[in-house]
């Protein structure tokens, strides 16, 4: 009666093998490494980069322990941190000859020492949270109302030019909190306006109002349009953050959406919060200005300008492609007027191009300026922290109306992509604010790992010793089952790459303490059956069977609490809940299926079993 069918043993063996395989990477530890990734869309990470890094290291005679390449980065592993830092400096110097215009991020990182065949099976060590590895954590709140207001203001400008184009007389357009109010003298004009707006601005919801003698038309953004704008704002902010964080040279930054209007940024290993915040909070703006062509072609003026004294009313810039030029100080257009920038191709020449879309006010200005300046050059600048950069300076060929602008000429497809991305992501779509911040020093991280590890280890040992003394062989079997639980839990955490935090380690320790409950229940039940005079084999069977209902009930109630924590918890609570829930599941398997398997192996085949080694039961 106490025999398992073969498939059950195979199942246990399979689970154990899988558990061992995925737990294995955690034992190899981590080695210092240098990670090289690309900042620009134009610069690809490929085998050539790998070869180049190898060359650089060879030239400096720095010994590495392996070079790896994946889709986004090239990594080199080193024996100690000293070599790592030396290598970082060497690679940085060689790859980024011009520090102001770096093409690569060269960052310090840690990579697992586990052999390549394990990594290729996606068997990775557990992913440690910031409280264990040190670093900075930010929670940013995106001002969604700000995004909507920004949009409404732009729409107001659009409506004004629409009214003028359609010849509708109105008494003013103004934004009143979250709606636009347009005043009219008579109903006829209002109806005409209404028809025009409905066809031109499908995102607006119009309601007619009467305000004293005035007729009013109130326009609000439709809920679905609001949602779209907000989603777009969030996505764009995340893209912008990505670009900015690249500058910091962080090996594995985490930038994720949290909830509807928040963004989490985690920068492992970064200690300088001031610099990190500075970069996160930076606002970039786009400006369109005219180029002073006359002076730009005059070598003597340019020489003077390069030394820092450009002619009055102009500024000296170097274009991305390298050519110096003088740009007038007067701003034609700002990035607020830009609604979109997409890479594409010129319709006639099939050259790569960037298509810009301007709002209607911007389109009008652009039309006027281009009409008056055909044949001259126009500069598009990205201004960050008061420092400008000329992204491109194309020649104006004809008057451009309609708000659709195309920048083309001397551009490759990748460059077009890059420019479009820069123009789009250069500025934040909505303002953001830091609502939560955490910095954990590296020494505290190491301390936390040690504390968590010791808590688990000594808790486990204490339970193991007690069980072995109290329940003898059955106690030892329970301990083996408990070890299986630990093995499976760590394997599961490694496999899922769930973030392990200090509360998570606490949950491992607690899970072990609670998981033993199932084995205590079973062992007590077997003792009780023996006391009632049942034969040992029957006692084992009855013990496991009767205890199972209780084990199930108690684990379900624990799981309910765990799931509630998982759904409603955040930060440290979630870290605890993930491990707690997984631990309950693995403990069900190990304490019931695995321990029964061992008991069956030990006792199941003995016909004449007179006594079980489960402690004293003879007192009744």
């Amino acid at each position: 009666m106490n025999r398992y069918p073969l498939w059950k043993y195979l199942l246990i063996a399979f689970a154990l093998a899988l558990g061992l395989l995925y737990t294995l990477p955690n034992f190899f530890g981590e080695a210092p490494a240098v990670q090289v990734s690309s900042v620009k869309a134009t610069v690809k990470v490929d085998a050539r980069l790998l070869a180049r890094v190898e060359e650089i290291l060879k030239a400096e005679s720095i010994v590495h322990q392996g070079l790896f390449a994946d889709q986004n980065s090239v990594r080199a592993r080193f024996g100690d941190t000293e070599t790592q830092i030396k290598a970082k400096d060497a690679v940085e110097r060689a790859l980024n000859a011009d520090p102001d215009n770096a093409a690569y991020v060269v960052a310090l990182n840690l990579i697992s020492r586990s052999p390549a065949w394990l990594t290729s099976l996606h068997a990775l060590p557990m992913y440690l949270g910031l409280d264990l590895r040190g670093g900075v954590h930010f929670l940013l709140q995106v001002d969604m109302k700000g995004a909507l207001t920004k949009r409404l203001d732009a729409t107001a400008a659009d409506l004004r030019s629409l009214m003028r184009d359609k010849g509708v007389r109105h008494g003013g357009i103004a934004r009143e909190r979250d709606q636009l109010a347009i005043r009219f003298r008579d109903a006829e004009m209002r109806n005409k306006a209404r028809a025009a707006i409905e066809s031109a601005q499908p995102d607006l919801l119009l309601t007619e109002l009467q305000d004293g003698a005035d007729l009013k038309l109130a326009a609000t953004l439709k809920p679905e349009a609001q949602k779209r704008i907000q989603e777009f704002a969030l996505k764009q902010n995340i893209t912008t953050l990505h670009n900015r964080i690249n500058e910091l040279g962080v090996a594995e930054p985490v930038i994720q959406q949290q909830g509807a209007d928040r963004i989490v940024v985690q920068l492992p290993g970064v200690q300088d919060t001031a610099k990190a915040k500075d970069i996160l909070g930076r606002t970039a703006t786009l400006e369109v200005r005219l180029v002073d062509d006359e002076n730009s072609q005059n070598p003597t003026v340019m020489e003077e300008a390069a030394k820092g004294s450009p002619p009055a009313g102009t500024e000296y810039y170097v274009e991305r492609s390298g050519g110096p030029l003088l740009v007038k100080k007067q701003v034609v257009l700002t990035g607020d007027r830009l609604t979109d920038a997409q890479p594409g191709f010129d319709n006639q020449t099939h050259e790569p191009a960037v298509h810009l879309t301007l709002d209607s006010a911007g389109a009008r200005i652009f039309k006027d300026v281009t009409r008056e300046n055909v044949g001259k050059r126009m500069a598009i600048l990205l201004i960050e922290k008061g420092k400008g950069e000329v992204v491109t300076a194309p020649v104006i060929r004809t008057e451009i109306g309609g708000g659709r602008v195309q920048i083309s000429g001397r551009m490759s497809t990748v460059e077009a992509n890059d420019v479009a991305l820069l123009l789009r992501a250069g500025s934040l779509a909505a303002p953001m604010e830091i609502v939560e911040e955490r910095t954990i020093g590296p020494s505290l991280g190491a301390e936390n790992i040690e504390r968590g590890f010791n808590s688990t280890l000594y808790g486990f040992l204490a339970i193991a010793v007690f069980m072995a003394i109290y329940y003898l062989i059955f106690g030892l079997i329970s301990v083996v089952a408990l070890s299986t639980n630990l093995l499976l839990l760590i394997a599961l955490l490694s496999m899922l790459q769930a973030t392990l935090t200090l509360p998570g380690i606490a949950a491992i320790a607690l899970t072990l303490g609670m998981a033993i409950d199932a084995n205590v229940l079973i062992n007590e039940r077997i003792r009780e059956e023996l006391r009632n005079g049942v034969t040992p084999q029957a006692a084992i069977a009855a013990g496991y069977e009767r205890a199972f209902g209780t084990i199930l009930d108690s684990n379900v109630t624990s799981l309910i609490a765990g799931l509630a924590l998982l759904v409603f918890g955040s930060g440290p609570v979630r870290g605890f809940a993930v491990v707690h829930c997984l631990g309950i599941l693995t403990s069900m398997f190990s304490s019931v299926v695995v321990s029964r398997g061992i008991v069956n192996l030990v006792y199941g085949s003995r016909r004449k079993l007179a006594k079980l080694s489960i402690g004293n039961v003879a007192w009744k």
Binding site: L139, S455, L502, T550
Partner: protein, 309 residues
Amino acid sequence: MEFFKIRKDIPFMRHALVFNVISLITFIAAVFFLATRGLHFSVEFTGGTLIEVSYAQAADTQKIRDALARAGYTDTQVANFGSSRDVLIRMPLKPGQDSAALGAAVMDALDRDAPGAQLKRVEFVGPQVGKELAENGAIALLLVVFGIIVYLALRFEWRFAVSAIIANLHDVVIILGFFAFFQWEFSLPVLAAVLAVLGYSVNESVVVFDRVRENFRKMRKATVPQVIDNAITSTISRTIITHGSTQLAVLSMLVFGGEVLHYFAMALTIGILFGIYSSVLVASPLVMWLGVSREQFVKPQKPKEEAVV
């Protein structure tokens, strides 16, 4: 080895009233301290800034306080954290204050007047986040209570569900009472511990109830108190050993877990100790008083339908 050699059922139910009165008094005391002293919420809930620094030698907290006061930070709390070398500085939330500059500014102030500090951790929580955390915590608690009631009502009977939840919620209040009385810091990990305790000590009630149900079927002649006494007596060994094992793990956390896990482990310890008591000795009498009976579990034999003349 055997700790419990109990030959006769212990008449727990005869003293049911006493247990419940003890419970009630502890409960009222806990509520009293919660009301008068309140919980000492951590920065996560209240919002504010927390800065942990460490020195090579024992830190002079008074010197640090003076340094901060000179730099214009008057409303701060400075206390040792874990060891005499580690110091925790708490600063309340001030409108218009730039969180970005605060950490650096404090370190500058310390460098000037109490040099040698090494920054270990900075935590800043805005007011809105704190409020949300408190709300989410409350929702999680309600959800756990509701989930457990529904599950127990389905698996057993509503009387069991109600008694289990009353007994265990009173554990939660008592844990909170301890935190209010000693003014221990109530942080997010402590909240997690409280909810875990709720799930865990319901287990105890479940184990006893399971036995009660089984006994109703087996002990046909016994009265309700006898059935419950037998159920508690035959599971008491398991109850204490299980709790002992869990407490071993928690004790290990209390000793080796450091400052961060200290109150987490503390909440669990109180929860486990009171859990044994309440889930067994409070929940069972409640079930009895709510009027549990054999008929709710054992289906009465249907009288044969006989032909009537």
